[in-house]
């Protein structure tokens, strides 16, 4: 009994801290939906890079990555917004941009990552990956979603709209507790 109480006493503040972090991330994500320019997001990755993204050449295994390019003006404008949004949180957090891929509804890609190199979903190095069900839900419904699948990680996903009112992507406001200062330093 004493052990159980002790365990509860230890876990309760952690759970509360996670709730607070999730609440802050939810605020960040909510504001991101307002602030991130979906039209600029559409312009970041060039049509040429998207064309190469799914090319498969046994003689040239890096063809997709070698031809990945972006319009730096759009990239920088959106990245600066994401960086400022991350400053809203009282703890280290990143706000990453994700986008679907036209013609590949089962795939999704990260488009901008940030200074803490945090993401609950990105397998390091992937140009694109299988659609994350929670992301699909955000893209389809426009609702914000909290994801805590990986222990210690909290992400809040929120839609990004363009000037037509269409959902063109989503942000992942994410943190990790405890932070791993050595992670992804490579």
């Amino acid at each position: 009994m004493k052990g159980l109480l002790l365990a509860l006493a230890l876990v309760a503040p952690l759970a509360a801290a996670e709730r607070d972090m999730a609440r802050e991330l939810d605020d960040v994500a909510r504001i991101a939906t307002v602030m991130v320019d979906g039209d600029a997001c559409r312009r970041i990755v060039t049509p040429r890079a998207l064309e190469y993204m799914f090319k498969n050449d046994p003689k040239d295994p890096w063809v997709a990555g070698d031809n990945y390019e972006v319009n730096d003006e759009a990239f920088i404008a959106v990245k600066k917004t994401l960086l400022r949004l991350s400053h809203l949180a009282s703890f280290p957090c990143d706000v990453n941009l994700w986008m679907p891929i036209a013609g590949h509804p089962d795939k999704v890609r990260v488009v901008i990552r940030n200074r803490n190199e945090l993401s609950q979903f990105w397998p390091w190095g992937a140009l694109y990956q299988d659609m994350i069900p929670a992301m699909k839900q955000v893209l389809e419904t426009g609702q914000r979603l909290k994801v805590t699948e990986k222990p210690g990680w909290v992400s809040v996903l929120a839609p990004v709209y363009d000037s037509l009112g269409d959902i063109v992507g989503l942000v992942e406001a994410v943190t990790q507790e405890p932070v791993d200062p050595q992670g992804n330093v490579k």
Partner: protein, 605 residues
């Protein structure tokens, strides 16, 4: 003319007992069953008398092989020459790695004390029906060693039988120069792998591990092992989106005008002993500062990218880099070149331009901007040496022109450099550093394969070579080995050693660098460098130096973003073809040539 062989092979006439003590050349790796590994030529090559020769200030090595007829305990001892100041001998047990293809290759070298007591099969290596255990014997010949013959005996005691092997080492008068003919660099990324490779230590220290003295001792031990093997070590301390590990950079505070360095504590504990050379005290080569180091600068450090293109970015960058220059100058850290180096690629989505291996020429404008910021941050007359490094491939030819006077350290793709034969001399003439890069050959390739890099660098006239990753041995290098294409050292923790242990490949590379350095030192009036290169290439793989270059392909005139990787492969094939299959004796022939010249020099004195 004296014609000296590096090692005289005397085949065994008969076996007196069931136990044997034999030897092989360093390029012929023994397996655990009494043979030479197939990649190195199969079964021939065992010796029962060893005659070596070597220059002073260098090493001479061979494999010593214990063969027993039945399982059981044995004792191995090396009885060195009694001369008081002769060569120093060190013994290593060779670990037989089981590869994923179910073959055994020796590579990790475990330092052992003498006499060495063990049993066949070697208990921890767990090889069923093992009959043979290999040891690496390293002779270090200090520069002040008296030139003469030294005699060492290896003695095997197994059961009631004693076997011996006589080892004669002729020390030549020649001395290997202290500075290598080219720098062999061993790269790595971050420090998280250290916690993985030293689980006992990291468990013991818990959260304190990454701030502990033990961590920095470990890091220094990696620098030391590569330095002791005629190389250097680089550790990149940042990620593709600009995250900087706290042990790689001073801590910052503030933003805009107020951004400044708040704390040097971790940085100085990490780098101080490397920059003043004290981390290398007691080594054979003596205490010297590391010659190169990455700065922690990224597009996100020390200036925040949120201010990119605005006055705040310039202010943050210039103020902090100026503080760094001041700190280094105050500390007297002037023996190291501090590299501004961007490793990020846009495919990793951190930044909109490629810092590493620029493919799209428009990205070069970012280099120009950082060159401007560096000039503003660092006084022109600073005794602290800053360099702007670019690792270059696709856009190499154009970058050499467009970034002249901005980038002054180039680490070039081996492939594309191969069609620019005038580039190394042109870059050196304007004071730039030029290296090239590739990676370690796997253990499944002939042991001599690793010698191609220093030789290629010397023939091409470049000053250094980078193995892009040298500390990643995989999840289980001991029993499920991935081949070692990303490592040249191993964690010693499972053997009770709190630091890295070397490999057969690293030792072979070290010896080759020493021998090449000695060969290059013979260049002068009577022996032109080009002649020496020609002879070395001929000895190595029956080529001429021009065959180490390729024709510039027609597509090189097209914009780099239109090139294909496949075409690139085709264009570089002619020169690479000569290096695809290095025969096991390739370096032995070069060594023989070097020793012959050294001995002829002895004869002239």
């Amino acid at each position: 003319m004296r014609f000296l062989l590096f090692m005289v092979c005397v085949p065994l006439a008969a076996q007196i007992s069931g136990n044997r003590l034999q030897a092989t050349l360093e390029y012929l790796r023994p397996d655990p069953f009494g043979r030479i590994v197939a990649a190195d030529g199969g079964s021939d090559g065992f010796l029962n008398t060893v005659k070596l020769e070597g220059a002073r200030g260098g090493h001479v090595s061979f494999h010593l092989v214990v063969k027993v007829s039945r399982p059981g305990p044995y004792t191995l001892t090396l009885q060195p020459d009694p001369s008081p100041s002769g060569p120093q001998v060190q013994l290593f047990r060779e670990w037989f790695h089981l590869t994923e293809s179910k073959q055994y290759f020796p590579d990790a070298l475990i330092p052992v004390q003498q006499p060495y007591h063990s049993a066949m099969p070697e208990p921890d290596n767990r090889i069923e029906k093992q009959t043979s255990q290999a040891f690496w014997v390293d002779f270090w010949i200090p520069a002040d060693t008296e030139p003469k013959k030294y005699h060492t005996r290896a003695v095997l005691q197994a059961g009631d039988e004693t076997s011996e092997l006589a080892i004669e080492l002729s020390v030549l008068r020649a001395v290997v120069p202290k500075d290598d003919v080219l720098l062999m660099d061993h790269n790595s990324y971050g420090t998280s792998w250290l916690a993985d490779d030293y689980p006992e230590l990291s468990r013991k220290l818990g959260d304190r591990f990454f701030r502990s003295d033990e961590l920095f001792r470990l890091i220094h031990s990696y620098h030391r092992i590569f330095y002791e093997h005629r190389g250097i070590f680089h550790q990149l301390g940042y990620g593709h989106a600009g995250k900087v590990g706290p042990e790689f950079a001073p801590a910052l505070e503030g933003s805009g005008r107020t951004r400044h360095i708040a704390n040097w504590e971790l940085y100085d504990r990490h780098y101080g002993p490397l920059f003043d050379g004290s981390a290398f005290a007691g080594t054979q080569r003596g205490a010297r500062p590391i010659p190169f180091v990455y700065l922690p600068v990224t597009p996100e450090w020390p200036a925040s990218f949120v201010n990119w293109g605005e006055p705040g970015y310039e202010t943050e960058f210039v103020n902090v880099v100026s503080e760094m220059e001041h700190h280094f100058r105050e500390k007297g850290w002037t023996g190291t070149r501090f590299e501004l180096f961007f490793n990020h690629k846009k495919r990793y989505m951190g930044f909109p331009w490629d810092g590493d291996e620029v493919r799209f020429p428009s990205d070069n404008r970012y280099f120009l901007e950082y060159g401007r910021l560096m000039k503003k941050a660092v006084p022109a007359d600073s005794p602290v040496k800053f360099v702007f490094r670019a690792d270059t491939s696709w856009d190499m030819e154009q970058q050499f022109k467009d970034l002249a006077g901005v980038v002054n350290m180039w680490v070039a793709s081996r492939d594309i450099l191969s069609w620019l034969p005038k580039a190394p001399a042109m870059l050196r003439a304007r004071g730039d550093v030029i290296w090239f890069y590739s990676g370690p050959p796997a253990v499944t390739e002939p042991a001599a394969t690793i010698t191609q890099f220093p030789l290629e660098g010397w023939i091409r006239g470049v000053g250094g070579f980078v193995h892009w990753l040298t500390v990643s041995a995989g999840n289980d290098p001991w029993f499920h080995f991935d081949g070692g294409g990303t490592t040249l050292v191993y964690s010693g923790e499972r053997f009770g050693i709190s630091g890295p242990i070397p490999s057969v490949r690293l030792k072979i590379q070290r010896n080759a660098v020493e021998e090449l350095t000695l060969l290059a030192s013979f260049a002068g009036e009577s022996l032109k460098e080009e002649y020496l290169k020609t002879e070395a290439a001929r000895s190595y793989n029956h080529t001429t130096p021009p065959q180490w270059w390729n024709q510039r392909p027609a597509f090189a005139d097209q914009p780099t973003y239109e090139w294909s990787g496949a075409a690139l492969g085709e264009a570089t094939r002619p020169a690479m073809r000569h290096l695809e299959h290095i025969d096991p004796d390739a370096w032995a022939r070069v060594r023989q040539y070097v020793m012959r010249l050294a001995a002829e020099g002895d004869g002239q004195k």
